[in-house]
């Protein structure tokens, strides 16, 4: 490009100079044609520069013909070639050639093209001198315009600048010739990517680098500030969701009472109902007749999908526990499964001695700790926990609200409370052990040390009841009252705001039933400081929790029901409270008001004393009691005011039945029906229904062996287990047969003292059987005994209803029989009387009739004889 420009410029300059030359010259002297004559030409025409031309005569006359000859000879090479045309047009014969020494017209020679010019020149050279002289004498009178004569260019050094500025090609231009195959022209172009870094030297990088020269540190800055609220705009492209109601809160439209009345009276409604009621009644009756949608096939079949062998109906031995460390022979008095932890079973053991033997060995017995043992499935040798009590425990129960609290009844009449919250994690962890470690190595007996793997800890009891004011004889049964209600001193029922079980009921062989409250009593009188000191001086072992400290040794029963009021000494052995009492739910409104924090309420029992509690009306305060004499008593705990003395007294029992021949050791409600109770005692079993006063629904005939334990099945409504004194378990199924047990199985060699089944899962159900020799057997209940058949609940219910009806019928029949008997007697009586009366009257009537008939006969005869006429007859009658 540069080169091109230079070229152009050169050309232009040449042109310009040429033009300038021609124009300039032609402007003033159009007849002058500058020429360049080479030495050759100069020689030909004898116009050599220095020889032929002088200063005075710098011109020469050349003949036209000579020029033409030269032109012919030398053609283009001739110097006259450029002015060839001028010469041809020249009118004259001789041309004037002037040697331009000064390069006035640009070149060293010039030709004058016209005659006049020639003349002028010739004259001018002569005149020039004259003119100069002339000029001296006439000083500027007339300004004659002299057009500027182009002077020869004087170099002032600008040519150097121009040369500097001018662009010249420094190097030769490189020409490339690129050829391509014709066929490739117009072919579609395919481009391909190539990474510049893949080809070596394909690119030259000019990496940026921080140049310190260009970093300026601004030391001062002038900034304007304004406090504005922080605003942040964010936007995101989202799916457009149209607004739609997430929820609506509304009230349903209702009519007011007047409107309802008005509408109810309107004729249209009456007509509508008349029209519609027929079809509705037809539909209702259709449903009453038959259930259209019942699937007969389905309801015919029994439930399939058994998990075990259906033929196996026996209880399978699973595990057994014995306390090997006790010195004296023990028997198990009470068994309970831990309510929450799997595989933990708790037994209470007592020495196997009769009363005289106890007295005899009383010294030795004092050294023996009386224990409640916690057995876990994972460890059959060592009990997990051992709870210590002052004397042998005959019954105990876990608190339903808190499985870490256990209440037990002693042989000496004391109630003992334990709080094992601190040891709870120890027994919890046994669950994990049992699951993971199946291979518990059983060490042989002689290697066993008393301590073994785990330390045998005796957990001391928390509190015992007061000896003077408690029971005086062995406590035979203990129950926790439900957490929904509580009772006061007079037996009235109030709602329980604590939501925990805080009351107990016990019965003992001293013929009393006591209600206990585990909360601290509100003392009406301020305690004297001396008394306080006394209490404080009692040292408490450090490892005993202070949950029930307020009760220790000072616990008195809340209220006491003595059976002695009924003129008969009943020794209650077992009591059974109704389910309603155990599961009564208070209304939600009250629950909201009594929201308690997560504090363990048993450690904060003070909070539970509220004065104003709402009494619960129509609460069933009746319960069943089984006694040692074999009676079943249905009585009420609510006290009533005795009209004579004005004191609150226990009511008389509602009903009393003597059905058993021995002490009643089981009084239990069915888990399926609230009002069905099972009582076992002596040699027979009885089933009762609450409310049916005439007698038991079912009373089995006397068995060969004494029954010593009993329990309902937890899952099958018609099944219960009875333990015998010879170590057999009788399984009764009410749907199968009611005159004898459905099956019998031998468990151990000695008397069974306690039966307790427990359900862990749908597949696993265990039954714990305790015997007289202190061994606890755990057996697994097979599928058939644990899973109810379809509609078993309703079938058993139906059976009970039938029995009730049967009883009613028996009653009716009895009353009818009584009635009949009475009637028969009356009849007999009446008959005796009536015969007398009847004969007397009859005779009189007969006589009268005879007489009348005689009179008639007389009349007829007389008329027949003609002796008397009709009128005479009347005369005779008068006679």
């Amino acid at each position: 490009c540069k080169y091109k420009q230079q070229k152009d410029r050169d050309r232009q300059k040449e042109k310009h100079t040429e033009r300038n030359r021609t124009e300039g010259i032609l402007g003033c002297h159009p007849e002058i044609y500058p020429l360049v004559l080479t030495t050759k030409t100069q020689e030909i025409f004898n116009c050599r520069i220095d020889e032929d031309f002088t200063d005075e005569m710098p011109y020469k006359i050349i003949k036209k013909e000579d020029i033409f000859e030269d032109l012919r000879n030398r053609a283009a090479v001739s110097d006259f070639h450029p002015v060839k045309k001028v010469i041809q047009e020249y009118p004259g014969n001789e041309l004037l050639l002037v040697y331009d020494k000064d390069f006035k017209y640009g070149l060293n020679f010039y030709i004058i093209g016209t005659e006049e010019g020639k003349e002028n020149y010739l004259n001018a050279s002569e005149v020039q001198e004259d003119q100069e002289e002339y000029k001296e004498f006439i000083p500027e009178e007339i300004y004659t315009y002299i057009p500027p004569v182009s002077k020869p260019w004087v170099s002032l050094g600008s040519e150097k600048e121009i040369e500097e500025e001018s662009v010249k090609k420094s190097t030769k231009q490189v020409t490339y010739m690129i050829s391509r195959k014709r066929s490739e022209f117009g072919a579609p172009i395919t481009f391909r990517d190539q990474n510049a870094s893949s080809v070596k030297d394909a690119y030259i990088e000019c990496t940026a680098y921080p140049d310190k020269n260009f970093t300026l540190k601004q030391l001062e800055k002038n900034v304007g500030m304004q406090a504005v609220p922080q605003v942040q705009d964010t936007s995101t492209q989202t799916k457009w969701t149209y607004p739609k109601n997430a929820s609506t809160q509304y009230y349903a439209r209702e009519f007011s009472e007047e409107e309802k009345e008005r509408l109810g009276q309107s004729k249209s409604l009456t007509d509508f109902l008349n029209n519609v009621s027929t079809s509705v009644e037809i539909a209702l009756q259709q449903n009453e007749i038959t259930n259209l949608f019942i699937d007969d096939w389905k309801s015919l079949a029994e439930e399939e999908g058994t998990f075990g062998d259906k033929t196996n109906t026996h209880l399978k031995e699973y595990q057994s526990f014995t306390d090997l460390h006790s010195q004296m022979e023990k028997m198990i008095t009470c068994v309970s499964w831990h309510p929450t932890i799997y595989g933990l079973i708790v037994v209470s053991v007592a020495v196997r001695l009769s009363f005289e033997e106890r007295v005899h060995f009383s010294g030795r017995l004092l050294l023996q700790p009386s224990l409640i043992l916690f057995w876990s499935f994972s460890d059959p040798i060592h009990p997990q926990l051992m709870l210590e009590s002052p004397d042998d425990i005959f019954c105990f129960k876990f608190c339903p609200s808190d499985p870490n609290i256990i209440a037990g009844g002693c042989i000496n009449g004391q109630i003992v409370l334990w709080d094992i919250t601190t040891y709870a994690d120890r027994i919890e962890s046994t669950k994990a052990d049992g699951g993971g470690n199946k291979k518990t190595t059983l060490k042989p007996m002689f290697l066993l040390e008393p301590d073994g793997n785990k330390e045998a800890t005796y957990i001391r009891h928390c509190a015992v009841s007061s000896i003077e004011s408690g029971h005086r004889s062995v406590i035979t049964d203990i129950h926790w009252l439900a957490d929904t209600f509580e009772i006061n001193r007079f037996g009235s029922v109030f709602e329980n705001r604590n939501e925990i079980c805080c009351q107990l009921v016990t019965c003992s062989a001293d013929c009393t039933i006591c209600f206990w409250d585990i909360r601290p009593l509100k003392t009406l009188t301020p305690t004297l400081p001396t008394e306080k000191k006394k209490e404080e001086s009692i040292e408490i072992p450090f490892d005993v929790p202070s949950t029930f400290l307020h009760l220790d040794l000072s616990w008195k029963p809340l209220t006491r029901l003595s059976k002695g009021e009924t003129n008969l000494d009943h020794c209650p052995t077992k009591i059974s409270l109704s389910e309603e009492q155990l599961l009564y739910k208070i209304s939600d409104k009250l629950l909201d008001q009594t929201k308690v924090t997560e504090v363990n309420l048993y450690h904060n029992l003070e909070a539970g004393l509220a004065n104003l509690l709402k009494p619960i009306d129509d609460f069933c305060t009746k319960f069943f009691v089984g006694t040692e004499e074999g009676e079943v008593i249905y009585t009420d705990w609510k006290m009533e005011k005795d009209p004579d003395t004005g004191r609150m007294m226990a009511k008389k029992p509602k009903s009393l039945y003597s059905v058993h021949d021995g002490p009643v050791h089981t009084v239990q409600r069915s888990p399926f029906y609230n009002d069905i109770i099972l009582t076992v005692g002596g040699w027979n079993v009885a089933i009762w229904k609450e409310g049916v006063m005439s007698g038991p629904l079912l009373q089995t005939c006397c068995a060969a062996k004494r029954y010593t334990a009993g329990h309902w099945s937890l899952t099958r409504p018609g099944v219960f287990y009875i333990g015998r004194e010879d170590g057999y378990i009788d399984v009764w199924d009410l749907l199968e047969k009611t005159h004898e047990p459905a099956q019998s199985q031998n468990i151990c060699i000695t008397m069974i003292t306690y039966i307790e089944p427990w359900t862990f899962s749908a597949k696993q159900q265990f039954i714990a059987i305790a015997d007289y020799y202190g061994t606890l057997h755990i057996l697994e209940i097979p599928w058939t005994l644990s899973h109810p058949s379809t509609n078993e609940v309703s079938s058993v219910n139906y059976y009970f209803e039938r029995e009730v009806k049967h009883l009613e019928y028996v009653e009716q029949r009895r009353s009818i029989r009584e009635q009949e008997k009475k009637e028969m007697e009356l009849e007999m009586e009446k008959r005796k009387h009536k015969t007398h009366h009847k004969s007397k009257e009859q005779m009189e009537a007969e006589l009268k009739m005879d007489y009348e008939s005689y009179l008639e006969l007389e009349k007829i005869t007389l008329i027949g004889l003609g002796l008397a006429k009709a009128s005479e007859t009347s005369h005779m009658e008068m006679m």
Partner: protein, 96 residues
Amino acid sequence: MTEVEETLKRIQSHKGVIGTMVVNAEGIPIRTTLDNSTTVQYAGLLHQLTIKAKSTIRDIDPQNDLTFLRIRSKKHEIMVAPDKEYLLIVIQNPCE
């Protein structure tokens, strides 16, 4: 007792009937034997269902009309007798 009461009582005394209610054309209960919240719920829902059922029948055949609607569920059967202005709803437990 008025006729209305008599009829309703008669229907209510059928075996297995849990509740009876009379609802107007807008779904507002007029007479009921159940508690208020249940009534309002049943009335609202069944009223809409009846309208839907009615329109279904009419769509299929414009000359047809809904005379009775019975809904059988696992636990009970709901019977709805519609009319121009009112709706009679009866809930019955068909099994023993």
